[in-house]
Symmetry: C2
Subunit: 404 residues, 2 copies
């Protein structure tokens, strides 16, 4: 505990956080903007779609009633709305099975803290949403990478089984997946869930993109799988399905009452989630359709446009997503992060360029994802097509071009 | 790591959280309400005052612009507003010295995580705001109690010095203090700060109640003390000064850039704080007066009323606060928690009763605070006076009455 020598430096925990490529690329994007270049930010999942009118309307009517502490679990009418919402997905929950959170981020933080202790292992199918790695570092947990199935499919149950150790406490999946768009079907969840039951670990299931699937009405929830009541813990968010990223409303849901009680105790320490934001989505949660259908149709058209535009670039391999609104593409480059930086610094077509997310940070295995980028389909098809063309032009002049 | 035997139970971390007396008393309060009894909730700091009109007005104008992700550090105009706010308290900060958070709770969580590692010790003058203990348990830190000075005054510098070990990484103070109302003067901060500099630990200063003082315009900030730039980390919140507990807006501030960079990295994992809530307080932050003056005057009258009413009850010792809006009272009872439960279950005057906060959980030293309660002055003087009279009537019939 050599405290004396470390002086007033931050915690080792903070130092162990993986560096963010966004942070490294952001100054380049700012510089491009200063040069008068429009940067198409395909790097973050902040769509341009308008939220449901019920939300903007409710915000207009916000009164000082919304300015008091909500209960730690959530405002009463908001908890009811989440119950109704889940019932539409064949998931019947009691109020005590639910906890409203500050987005999926807080839901995951609470899930990790309520289920795992410092030093425990968490199985993570690769590639995964990059901030998961930071949340694990923050909570002192070890990310154990699990290879995906073919074409980023769900991992094989036997592969998972072989990676389980006495230190395994949870497996963290995301379906539909950010970044790959992989959707875990009922059968996939049953198989992975069986391993969780067999070896007593939690199945933490991030279902933020639940309705955004291109085949069928929604991805099945881990809470709809029989036999997983003790193991399944769902992380959810309204950010993407209702285009209200800025509200920061999500929830944690599980039928494991001891885990939910523990999560509530942890949540009580932060007192409450903003009442006004919780209430704003009540109506949208109880009647999500037809709004979410229009959202899905928008993304279907957009991902098709991106896949089509990527198909026109020699040497690029794009992976059609089953859901969510990202496309993972392998590029013929030495290093996707260098290429992303090059696009921002050296490429502009009619004063436009593109910001992509390099994917090394979406892996726990060193060296993986070096040629991959994540493209967020967050603008209209025409803009996306133009942006991908700029990527293609960038590849033609990029000095580190390779073949895949 | 005997994982196999623990089955699907929550983490030991969750189990290590101190139980909440609020949680234990809440069912009794609910039962009293069901019996048609009005429960004066003097147990929580949720005041009844109206927020500034600028806030309710801004919320009315909230548009879909407020529904996108804010930057992790905070919305640009909101960060500027915090800079202006601090400049009114002789604290000049750069934007990078600030981070907008989901209330003081998140600010403290980030402060603890950015400065301390699992197993580190944090010095805590007793009594302290009870949830601090839970936040330390959550982050794997040890609460080391520091005795207060006379009448809950700031601890003596030598007392602090004697408790420092190589494992000490921070000291957490609250000024004006919840629960005692103790205000650290410039001189107190200098003395405690000198020990922090001498022994290389962080001075985490929760200044949520900054303006709510009954002598002078505001409590001095740890950031206004010369020589503490590397050590002082301030936790702040608008909840109490603007009566917007439900917005959940606070901030973390320090001139230790490495700590703020670390905190920002941690904050990036939760993406953002709700934009609408951040923006709602911009105007109030830049022009807090005269609104906060009316707030202070209201609390001055209220705490005087509570002190006066307590003075009429034989055997009760009340501690006049220098700031904040709580009064700590020692009661002639065997156990303040039992008495608080008795009030809820067995006492009603004209169908009214009172909920108090027993203070054992405000101490890390076992057995301390057993006769103390915290009274939140969150209603008008007349109501408070009536409520304290009910406490007095309760004491007359309480079977565990003692003398102090």
């Amino acid at each position: 505990m050599a405290k004396v020598s470390r002086d007033m430096t931050p915690s080792a925990r903070a130092g162990s956080l993986p560096a963010s490529p966004i942070r490294r690329l952001a100054p380049l994007a700012d510089a491009a903007k200063e040069r008068g270049i429009h940067v198409h930010q395909l790097n973050i999942g902040q769509p341009d779609l308008a939220p449901p009118e019920s939300i903007t309307h409710l915000l207009e009517r916000a009164s000082s009633e919304e300015l008091v502490y909500a209960p730690a679990r959530g405002a009463s009418d908001a908890v009811s709305a989440w119950q109704i919402y889940f019932s539409h997905h064949s998931v019947d929950l009691e109020r005590e099975d639910l906890l409203i959170t500050a987005g999926a981020s807080e839901a995951l933080l609470l899930a990790l803290m309520a289920t795992c202790d410092h030093g425990d292992d968490v199985l993570m199918p690769e590639p995964f949403y990059a901030p998961y790695k930071g949340l694990l570092a923050m909570t002192g947990l070890n990310a154990i990478p699990v290879p995906s199935g073919p074409d980023f499919g769900p991992p094989d149950a036997d592969t998972v089984r072989q990676l389980v150790t006495p230190n395994t406490r949870a497996m963290l999946i995301c379906s539909p997946s950010n970044p790959t768009g992989t959707v875990y079907g009922q059968n996939d969840l049953e198989k992975v869930g069986a391993v969780a039951v067999e070896h007593d670990f939690f199945l933490l299931s991030d279902e933020t993109y639940r309705e955004i699937v291109f085949d069928g009405p929604a991805a099945p929830s881990a809470l709809a799988i029989p036999g997983l009541d003790d193991n399944a813990v769902v992380i959810d968010s309204v950010s993407k399905r209702f285009n209200v990223c800025g509200l920061r409303i999500g929830c944690l849901a599980s039928r494991n009452r001891a885990v939910m009680d523990a999560a509530l105790e942890l949540a009580e320490l932060r007192l409450a989630v903003p009442m006004i934001d919780q209430r704003a989505v009540v109506s949208a949660l109880t009647s999500p359709r037809p709004y979410v259908d229009t959202v899905v149709e928008a993304y279907r058209e957009r991902k098709d446009a991106v896949l089509s535009a990527l198909g026109n670039i020699p040497g690029v391999v794009a992976h059609p997503p089953g859901g969510a609104f990202y496309v993972v593409a392998e590029l013929p480059v030495d290093d996707a992060e260098s290429f992303a930086a090059f696009l921002l610094s050296d490429v502009a077509v009619n004063d436009e360029t593109v910001m992509l997310t390099p994917m090394s940070d979406f892996y726990a295995t060193p060296g993986r994802g070096k040629q991959e980028v994540r493209i967020a389909c967050v603008f209209d098809s025409e803009t996306l097509t133009r942006a991908i063309r700029i990527v293609g032009e960038g590849l033609e002049t990029y000095p580190g071009r390779t073949t895949i």
